[in-house]
Subunit: 346 residues, 3 copies
């Protein structure tokens, strides 16, 4: 278990310390569950009461939130400081530089300095792996992929050929980059669907995070493009020829159909579905399970669907939904009758 | 192909046999398709007609459902007896105890008695694997994982570090346990999303089944917890810091956002989505593709969405949905007019 | 980079060439982005203007779409011809016949002529692999699977035991075939869910394509069946005992519950969910994210859900949805009042 003096933490995060610089901190915890020796943070001013009650030995707070009893690190953005702090307590195993004897690496591949290539990794012809990359066990990198520096591919990742990744990507297990886009031309042959070979690749920018068991397909003719700073969660599907703008965030189980152009700084909550061949403006946001049916020209927050109901009541509403156009006509007819009897109108 | 005398089956299942104890049974089939030499079962009393017509050589039935012609095993719960019987006819390959020469196992790892470690398995530092565990080919178990006895990890599973599993789990291929939760703090830096390192782990109880290509993320500070007896299907996403109560069942393609607390004995049909930071009572049930938008305090069955319609009619209802609030106001106005003309009211 | 004279392309595709047979073509591009040396195609007659403006050196067009300036290949179905052409420019790495030294292959397995078995592939007992199959790195094929000729399994695929595949399948990375169906009988035991061992297998026809990280479960008693010419995208779930008819197309993130019988030539857009134990007629089509709640007896196109709205307006409609049955009753009451005051009716 890692531990730091509070002064060390303050220095690492560049924060002003108020209180006992020698206090030893061995973990981070929420206000409610923190115990002595832990540090907590006040990210939401509604939790000031919890701050007063917390047993933590130190707190990251805004300068106006200190209270008498404890040790503080002062931050204009305590949640961001907490995020930075989390790196100090990360106890994930440290990969050792070097190539495991069981890795199978093509002679034409180039592996950067201090790279860590784990057991049973397979690396194809003409692959370029930058410096300080970590490739975990049983990951497969096919021919002609090019990875920049400081990329971390967890275990059991698959990169098809011609996947290009910038620097500082973090790609989780089971994820597949560069699989064929779902492109077929209908024909009258016995097997109806004539495959369209997917000749494009996948290009991924810097500082991208991609969750577990996610799929990003290669382009049909041009590339599928993920720009710098994009973060993508687990079990996401990005179809061929999509382009995802800088710093956009995509939560788990989202599916994006082909040739969608998504702007910068968008957020997609879980399980959103996006129709193909549409364009989405910068700063657009989508509630969970929204069906994005067409172009989004105005930034804003969008939703589809219905509210959750007990199933018996829901069945009635669901039936009435199928009659909505008729109900509208009935209301219109009533309005007309009353209109024609003007003595009745307000 | 396995076969048993009916008497053996009766004895294994602890059921009373009526009929020919020497009848040889070589398979199980539904009433409609069973042939001579097979055993079937009557789980739904509406199928009594099918029982009479069935060609099976024996039947598992409730005591009051026997008919003259055949051999019976009497059970108070024929469907449960069928489930138990299925184990006798399971012809999945039997893993042999032992460690394949190609497995890569850290010296500090501990492997229990009679464990079966298949080809290309990679096991990290300080991992503990209990007795009788089966770890199939190309599975990766990272540092400091602890598995109890009788766990079965199928091929190509990935466990990140600090995943703790009880006894008797069955975890299917492609599943990833312990990937990073999707935690980021927004910042004003060039790359907007500051990663929150995920310091918690994953804890899984006894007798848990997890389907293929499912993801369960590690917790941010505390652990993600799956309690005893939980069953989870394929392509499910469980985000960081969720806690799933005992014997809850989660069907395929469900996504659960972060910090959700799910009670015991709940059932989630396929493709349900659950919003983050909510609590769901014991014995809550959700229809397929329900969006669980808030806390569920009362046990019951819930749904969202609309009924399926031909697309042309659906488009009309979908447009009317966007006008629903206005339609409500129009109805209200009509009511007011009639109210103010009281001679017209009923 | 591959290149062909236009005459070679015409000959390969069986198309009439109009123009310069010696024109060298080194790539395919859409009309708008094509440059000199590339070939394009006019699949949609609305794009005739783009054809006139395109910089491509040759075009695949219908015979009535040629314009003066360029070289043409004449096709009754330019999109289909484009699909066929894409194969000529496919630059995916060519697998070399042979078995990599690190592959682990059971002695009882049979490997066909010209098969390519890559690094760390694991093949179980009594497996049969046909001629010209390509099995990419780290894929696992369990006991008693039978694959016909010309199958391509990409990296990190998992086949459980008793998966039968015809000829010419293309199966993408991370996909799992034959995992256990989600079958459990409720019991009163401590661990409520008694596993039903899944005794069936998976049978896949000829010319099937299956995307990345998709799951097809084995049957409970009989097999799960995918017929000839079916195409399936990424992250799709097909539950136990489904049968999917010839040439049906299933887009990404679709989930099909157990024992569903889907006809031929159906199409499922992304994220559709299909309830269990239903039958779907040939030539049925489903819009994205449709919930298929019951049998589909008539061919046609179906949908569910609501249109996308700004979230504030959506919240109002969502609330009104929960009151729809009451709103219907209010309209009915108004109609009755007016009816009883017949002087007011039209």
């Amino acid at each position: 278990m890692k531990s730091y003096r509070l002064a060390e933490i303050a220095q690492q995060l560049g924060l002003v310390l108020v209180g006992d610089a020698e206090q030893v901190i061995h973990g981070i915890a929420p206000l409610e569950t923190a115990v002595a020796g832990e540090i907590s943070f006040l990210a939401d001013s509604k939790l000031v009461k919890a701050l007063a009650d917390s047993q933590a030995s130190a707190f990251i707070v805004k300068p106006d939130h200190t209270i008498a009893k404890a040790n503080y690190l002062l931050s204009d953005n305590p949640y961001l400081s907490f995020a930075q702090l989390s790196a100090l307590f990360n106890d994930a195993p440290q990969a050792l530089a070097g190539i495991h004897a069981s890795a199978v690496i093509a002679k034409s591949a180039s592996i950067g300095a201090n790279a860590s290539i784990a057991a049973n990794v397979v690396i194809g012809e003409h692959v370029v792996i930058g410096n300080n990359c970590i490739i975990e066990a049983n990951t497969v990198i096919s021919d002609r992929c090019v990875l920049g520096d400081n990329n971390h591919l967890h275990a059991n990742v698959t990169l098809y050929h011609n996947v290009i990744i910038g620097d500082d990507a973090n790609i989780h297990s089971g994820t597949v980059l560069g699989s064929d886009g779902f492109g077929f031309a209908p024909s009258s042959a016995q097997y109806k669907w004539q495959k369209i070979y997917q000749l494009g690749g996948v290009r991924i920018g810097n500082n991208v995070e991609i969750g577990a068991n996610t799929c990003i397909d290669r382009g049909a003719l041009a590339d599928t493009i993920i720009h710098d700073g994009v973060i993508i969660d687990n079990l996401v599907h990005i179809a061929h020829n999509c382009e995802i703008g800088k710093n956009t965030a995509i939560a788990a189980c989202v599916g994006v159909a082909g040739s969608v152009n998504i702007g910068e700084n968008c957020t997609f909550a879980g399980k959103v579905g996006v129709n193909g061949h549409i364009t989405i403006a910068d700063n657009s946001h989508f509630a969970g399970m929204t069906v994005v049916t067409g172009n989004v020209k105005e930034p804003g927050t969008y939703a589809t669907g219905t509210a959750m109901m007990p199933i018996k009541a829901w069945r009635k509403s669901a039936v009435r939904f199928t009659q909505l156009d008729k109900m509208h006509d009935r209301v219109k007819k009533l309005e007309k009758i009353l209109e024609e009897n003007s003595s009745l109108s307000e």
